[in-house]
């Protein structure tokens, strides 16, 4: 870790997020968070429910617009409304708890949609030459098949998501995010909606990605997995990062009393 060249990928500074419940009440979910994510890091976020883990993760690609502070991704502030967020989201893959595969598209269309649509848009949109369009499509298809082969679901290419098991759906959701060749992957409790039997296959795939050096941020309740895969662990409570460290530090020598209590309950 020390001798690795550390390039800052995402710099979060002073991040605040609050939701307005009604006219009088405002709920502060994130309170002034500062954190820097370096290239190649695998970060797991743990914490009790309601602590702001998911909101923090969703702020990283502005799925939730921050109400204060900045998120610098490759030097540009994503929290600035003038920044073209769509261009940056291509480089930030996201995997959801509920998979969110496109129900009206087959598996391969799910994976191909964004590369084809955005590729054609960059080539001139409606005015792109048919030959160029065809080439983009073929390339996206080839890439999608490669991804499907990799996750072992090649034979499911032409079925609709409703026929798949949860584990299969989540692996395809990961493949869909990978199809854009993202620089960082965000996982929002990727195994929480799965049957116990299916958890393993999804975690194995995430581990594989981690071993290939993909930068990733994972919100998870799977402590064993966090310990094994992550090189940094954040413990969040009450909208703040209350403890941060290597898995060794966090799990063996927790300092924060709330973290000690949390670990004694979940381990």
């Amino acid at each position: 870790m020390e001798n690795q060249a550390k390039n800052e990928l995402i710099v979060v500074s002073g991040l605040c997020k609050s939701f307005r419940i009604n006219k009088k009440k405002i709920l502060n979910v994130l309170n002034d968070i500062d954190y820097t994510i370096y290239e190649g890091q695998k970060i797991a976020i743990i914490g009790p429910s309601g602590s702001g883990k998911s909101t923090f993760l969703r702020c990283l690609n502005c799925m939730e617009d921050p109400t204060g502070g900045s998120i610098f991704f490759e030097g540009e502030d994503l929290a600035d409304m003038k920044v073209d967020i769509n261009r940056h989201r291509e480089n930030i893959g996201m995997v959801f708890q509920q998979f969110n595969l496109f129900n009206n598209k087959t598996v391969i269309q799910n994976i191909m949609l964004a590369p084809v649509h955005l590729g054609i848009k960059k080539a001139g949109g409606l005015f792109a030459k048919p030959a160029v369009k065809k080439q983009i499509k073929e390339q996206a298809k080839e890439n999608a098949l490669k991804l499907l082969r990799r996750i072992g679901l090649e034979e499911k290419a032409n079925v609709y998501p409703s026929t798949l098991s949860g584990g299969q759906k989540q692996r395809i959701a990961i493949a869909r995010a990978l199809a854009m060749n993202p620089k960082v992957m965000l996982f929002d409790e990727p195994t929480s909606a799965l049957d116990p039997e299916m958890v393993g296959e999804v975690l194995d795939l995430i581990k594989e990605l981690a071993n290939e050096g993909m930068t990733m941020v994972i919100v998870t309740h799977e402590m064993g997995f966090a310990r094994e895969v992550a090189d940094r662990i954040l413990f969040m409570d009450g909208g703040r990062i209350t403890e941060e460290g290597t898995p060794e530090e966090i799990f063996k020598h927790p300092k924060n009393p709330r973290l000690q209590e949390f670990l004694s309950k979940v381990l």
Binding site: Q98, F99, N100, N103, Y160
Partner: protein, 234 residues
């Protein structure tokens, strides 16, 4: 004046003398044309309005568009269809000095009118699609509009297909008022048949049969389409 006698006289006009040819070539064709093209225009307008309605409203432009849509929907749902037809044909078009044929006026007004109703149907349909679908689209870098067109609206349309079928049926039935602006439809043709000997019993009975066969046939078509679309998901 028994029924059999009346029917015989009508049949002479309707079948033997070839009255049915006009029923099909003008009446039925126009009725269907107004309803189908009207619904097509209505779906386009309705989708646009619904898209505005479900847009996040923290910028100025969506708010202005929202206001415009509210006025539009308010007007077309707040006035009778006949009034809208008369307004277009006898007030608005002469005032701006354009000549539009009766049939085209009807298609246009039916389209504008059904747009206001389809908007509500479509909005409900869009809101019935899981929010995660929009989030997933945005997360891979697609714009709001692209996600809407490629992911959300196709699923919404599937959810509201039965309701859209009902809207189409309502349009078909509403076409019976187009003779207010001198357009020819089923009602007009059958009235003309009756006018020949001032006997309306049989012609209007036949007209009712035409409408009900049309409506039942479309109900069946919508059901078939619906089950086909459901199968596409399996």
């Amino acid at each position: 004046m028994d029924f059999a006698h009346q029917w015989e006289k009508f049949w002479l006009l309707f079948y033997t003398n070839g009255g049915y040819k006009r029923v099909f070539s003008e009446g039925l064709v126009n009725t269907l044309q107004i309803a189908i093209l009207g619904l097509a225009i209505g779906i386009v307008i309705g989708t646009l309005i619904a898209a505005v309605k479900v847009m996040p409203k923290y910028k100025v432009l969506p708010r202005i568009l929202d206001g415009v849509c509210n006025v539009y929907v308010g007007f077309f749902r707040g006035t009778p269809l006949v009034v809208q037809l008369l307004m277009a044909y006898y007030v608005i078009f002469p005032l701006i000095g354009v000549t539009v044929s009766s049939l085209n006026t009807c298609i246009l007004v039916f389209g504008l009118n059904s747009g206001a109703y389809v908007a509500e149907i479509m909005r409900a349909g869009i809101q019935s699609v899981d929010r995660g679908q929009m989030e997933a689209g945005r997360a891979v870098g697609l714009s709001y509009a692209a996600t809407m067109m490629k992911i959300v609206v196709p699923q919404a349309v599937k959810n509201i297909l039965p309701t859209l079928g009902n809207e189409f049926i309502a349009l078909i039935k509403d076409t019976s008022v187009v003779s207010f602006v001198a357009a020819t439809d089923l009602y007009k043709i059958f009235t003309e048949i009756g006018n020949k000997n001032y006997e309306y019993l049989a012609p209007y009975l036949m007209m009712a049969i035409f409408y009900i066969v049309l409506v039942l046939g479309i109900t069946l078509l919508v059901k078939l389409l619906e089950s086909r679309m459901q199968r596409a998901d399996r």
